[in-house]
Structure formats: structure tokens, C-alpha cells
């Protein structure tokens, strides 16, 4: 299956609700609203055999906090990226972990790195529990390692 075909099929199934670009025949990027995450994911899982979550990227963009779920297909050179953008300053997106267990850890990590709240996550504890990081989000824009280390009274040079 090539990315443009899949993009067209997605578009006909979700008229006006998805926006896709294919950077090559192997990579499909689909932008959706947070509310469309579950229906689009269900459609993809039903229609593509061997469809599984590769990983997710949390990214702090100008327009909001992005959660990009990268899906791969066993036996096929295809990566489908579902892009969901949550608005700042209090980003909330639906949790994919409620649907598939492989999203559990990565969503816990993103919550910690960027301060995203995943609604409906079955196990929303911190994954990297080092306490100095609570309320500090190292992947946010404007995070400054030097300022952070100074703020907790650590030495910078050795």
C-alpha cells in the first residue's frame, strides 16, 4: 500500500476531517483535530492488517503542543503519522493508551517531558520519577539547562 492511496482512502472516509501530505510513497502525515483521534485510529486499525504503534513524539510548536503518533505496518515500508495539536498553555489530548497498551509508556514519558495531560490514560504515573523534574518540562520551548541547574543550586562547571 502506498501512502498516497491510503491518504485518498482516508480522505474519502473522513471528508473534511483529515488533512494529509505524503512526503514520499513511504511516509504519510495526517493532521487531525484531537476529537478525531479515536475514529481515525479505529478506521486505520480495522483497514490495515499488522497496524501497530511505532512511537509517539511530543513536540512544543508555536501553535500548540503537538502529539505525533507514528504508526508502522508489519511487513510494509509505510509509516503513518497522526498529528494532533493541543492548545497551550494547558495541553490536553485524548489518550491512545486507552485503546492500545503499547501507547502507555510513551504517553507517560510525553506527559513528563512536556506537561501534556492525556485524558483517559489507564496508568498516568510518572515514568522517569526523578523528583527534581516535577513541574519542569525539559522538552518545552525556552527550557534552559543552565538556568535549571542554577535554580536547583547545582554546579555548572567541574
Amino acid at each position: 500500500m502506498e501512502s498516497t492511496d491510503l491518504g485518498k482512502r482516508l480522505e474519502s472516509a473522513f471528508v473534511d476531517r483529515v488533512e494529509w501530505t505524503a512526503r514520499s510513497q513511504k511516509r504519510l502525515y495526517v493532521s487531525i483535530a484531537p476529537a478525531q483521534l479515536y475514529p481515525v485510529f479505529d478506521w486505520l486499525r480495522e483497514n490495515i492488517p499488522g497496524f501497530r504503534l511505532g512511537t509517539s513524539t511530543g513536540i512544543d510548536l508555536r501553535e500548540g503542543v503537538g502529539v505525533f503518533h507514528h504508526f508502522v505496518v508489519n511487513g510494509m515500508p509505510l509509516v503513518v503519522t497522526l498529528k494532533v495539536i493541543a492548545s497551550k498553555p494547558d495541553p490536553r489530548v485524548p489518550s491512545l493508551a486507552a485503546k492500545i497498551p503499547s501507547a502507555r509508556w510513551i504517553e507517560r514519558e510525553m506527559a513528563e517531558m512536556l506537561g501534556i495531560e492525556f485524558e483517559g490514560h489507564p496508568d498516568p504515573r510518572r515514568l522517569l520519577k526523578a523528583e527534581a523534574f516535577s513541574d519542569i518540562y525539559p522538552q518545552r520551548r525556552g527550557f534552559d539547562t543552565r538556568a535549571f541547574k542554577e535554580s536547583i543550586g547545582e554546579r555548572l562547571d567541574f
Partner: protein
């Protein structure tokens, strides 16, 4: 390194040099040095021919091998393990990260190289540095042997 602790009886020191027990601590490194340390045990390098033995607990060890920079959360466990070691004790910093934090110097989650972390709790702590990323097993063995020569 040069001034050995005078309290230690010479017989004890002699025995120690013949058979140092080594405890290995990985403090958030990339595990490559840790593998090279395990490699020292295997048939080609076989550190046991020097009487060295990897100990399972710091309380049984004479020498601590430390790999990796110290992450914020590893800091206290490392200090605690060091204080549990009986005297005379010394540490070998294995690899670039343990010597100088290497590639992780600017990372937000590391707090310092292990020698500085240990000096906070024990100003008398003595170290040998084995640079390399990772150092070859021969180099690690040479580091420990040099340490024994200096004790």
C-alpha cells in the same frame, strides 16, 4: 594517590594487593563500559588470574569500578555504596563519562562526574582514571593494576 593510609597493617595491604575484590557501579552511562568490564571476566582477559574478583556487594569490595556520569537520582545511591565499602578503598573511573562526564556534560539530568560526587562525602577518596569510550578491557585491567601499585 601516593600516600597510602598509614593505619592499614602491612600484611593486610599485601593481601589486598594480591587479591583485590572489585565492585561495579553503573551510574547512568551508556553500558558500553559496563560490557567491557564484564568482558574482563571472560576467557580472553580473565581478570581472575590477577586474583581479582567481581564482588556482589560493596561491603565485600576493595575497589569500586564506576562507569558513566552521575544522574541526579543515582547520586545518593552511589555515595551510600561508597560509604559502605571498607577501608582502604579506592575507585577506578572507567571511561570518558566517569572521568569528565564526556558527551553528557551539558545534559540537564546529570549532576557531575562521580569523583566530585564521592569527594563530597569522603574527602580522602582516591581515584584512578581510565579514559576511553569505552576503554578496551586491557586498559581497564591496566588501570586496576596501576591502582594496586600505588596503594
Amino acid at each position: 594517590m601516593a600516600n597510602a593510609t598509614p593505619r592499614v597493617p602491612s600484611l593486610f595491604l599485601k593481601a589486598l594487593k594480591k587479591s583485590p575484590w572489585v565492585f561495579h557501579v553503573g551510574t547512568s552511562g551508556c553500558n558500553n563500559c559496563d560490557i567491557e568490564i564484564a568482558d574482563c571476566l571472560t576467557p580472553r582477559y580473565d581478570i581472575e588470574r590477577f586474583g581479582m574478583k567481581l564482588a556482589g556487594s560493596p561491603r565485600h569490595a576493595d575497589v569500586m569500578l564506576i562507569t558513566g556520569p552521575v544522574s541526579r537520582a543515582c547520586r545518593e545511591p552511589l555515595q551510600q555504596a561508597w560509604l559502605e565499602m571498607p577501608r582502604p578503598r579506592a575507585a577506578v573511573m572507567v571511561g570518558a563519562c566517569a572521568c569528565s562526564m564526556g558527551a553528557y556534560k551539558d545534559a540537564y539530568s546529570v549532576t557531575g562526574p562521580p569523583d566530585k560526587v564521592l569527594l563530597e562525602v569522603d574527602p580522602d577518596a582516591r581515584f584512578v582514571y581510565v579514559p576511553g569510550c569505552p576503554p578496551k578491557p586491557e586498559t581497564i585491567i591496566m588501570g586496576i593494576v596501576k591502582l594496586l601499585g600505588a596503594l
